[in-house]
Subunit: 206 residues, 2 copies
Amino acid sequence: MQPGRRERSKLEKLERIRAAAHRLFARQGFEHTTTKQIAAAADIGAGTLFLYAPTKEDLLVLIFQEEVGRAVDAAFASVPARPILDQVIHIFDAITAHHAADPALARVFVKELPFVDDSRHGVAHFMIQMNSRLATLIERAKERGELDPEVPAPLLAQNLFGTFFQRLQTYLAARMSELECGDARLRASLELQLHGARKSRMRARA
Amino acid sequence: MQPGRRERSKLEKLERIRAAAHRLFARQGFEHTTTKQIAAAADIGAGTLFLYAPTKEDLLVLIFQEEVGRAVDAAFASVPARPILDQVIHIFDAITAHHAADPALARVFVKELPFVDDSRHGVAHFMIQMNSRLATLIERAKERGELDPEVPAPLLAQNLFGTFFQRLQTYLAARMSELECGDARLRASLELQLHGARKSRMRARA
DNA sequence: TGAAATAAATGACCATGGTCATGATTGACT
DNA sequence: AGTCAATCATGACCATGGTCATTTATTTCA
């Protein structure tokens, strides 16, 4: 009883909210779920909900962040011993797979994600972590001699993730069902990003 | 009187709506403008508005699309005779400048843009046009010997615009005031995109 | 322990984006 | 001109996300 009854109660409530929102969003979709419904399911007052999530969208971020976080952790823990391109695709595929499970929800999530005010949630932290993990992969690739050591790893990491995120956005926006792992266009974009477009490079591949 | 009185009336109304929305959004911001206000200012019924713009956000897209369209046209008409990197930055700066004029509005616009259902508006058309114009610049750069002729121009165009759009999104999301033309990070990202990260390339610059 | 002080919960309430049954306009056809 | 079908306009109305004054629970401290 060290943290005080109050803190415990708050934690409990937050968890109930998270669970309720998760269940209802999954069952009825985001738009068709009412904040009052969630509040009722979490057994709290209608106004209380907004003490924990200032916005309905924040609820979604709350949920996804946790889930995607886990998926990404797992993906980084199982990076294959292959070229850097395959490695980042391995990571991105994990995210894609997770989003493909519920495109309608993912759509809202991806739309909101870049715009969540991150004084709450750890979205910024998630992004920073993603970036630094990718940067680590890049550094390793440099050591293997795959990549130019002079390329700044954080910048490349950002470009790669940006390329991925944009494809994700495009797919979800278009409600394409082709949101699949191993997308050819994504691979081509990433390949081009790694490879560059300058004339004077050495042409190593076919 | 060929198009019939009805069509004329509709066009007129649409124009009044556009003007009213533009004025009110500029004066009061997006969130603080009411759809009823716009309807009143355009001298139409409250419900009529939604015959012309299914959503409040659509109004914004309606306006921005036109303006940004003009800005981009102007930018493409004045592309400098310089390396491709400077050329695309010239284009992107035009958009940036336009958005910097009203960041709060631009924020909503950029958030909605990737998700507008494009059976209405010509957003898709705008994007396609942007892509093909960039692709043209790329082809010219190939002819000048700046870029590898084997790089698919549309793919590179998409990557470049994607990189830009993401930076724009990031800036606006963070409410950064540093949304300025000639942004150094954007330049670095685009440079990296053009240059690539492969080890085996020739290092042409310092 | 009791009372003051602080923090959190509540639900009636509000503002507003969007809908829809109803009524007005228009244009084609006779 | 008169009729009719089709299209468009309208504003009362609804659902819902979010607010806030009030009430309730917890902690602090004498």
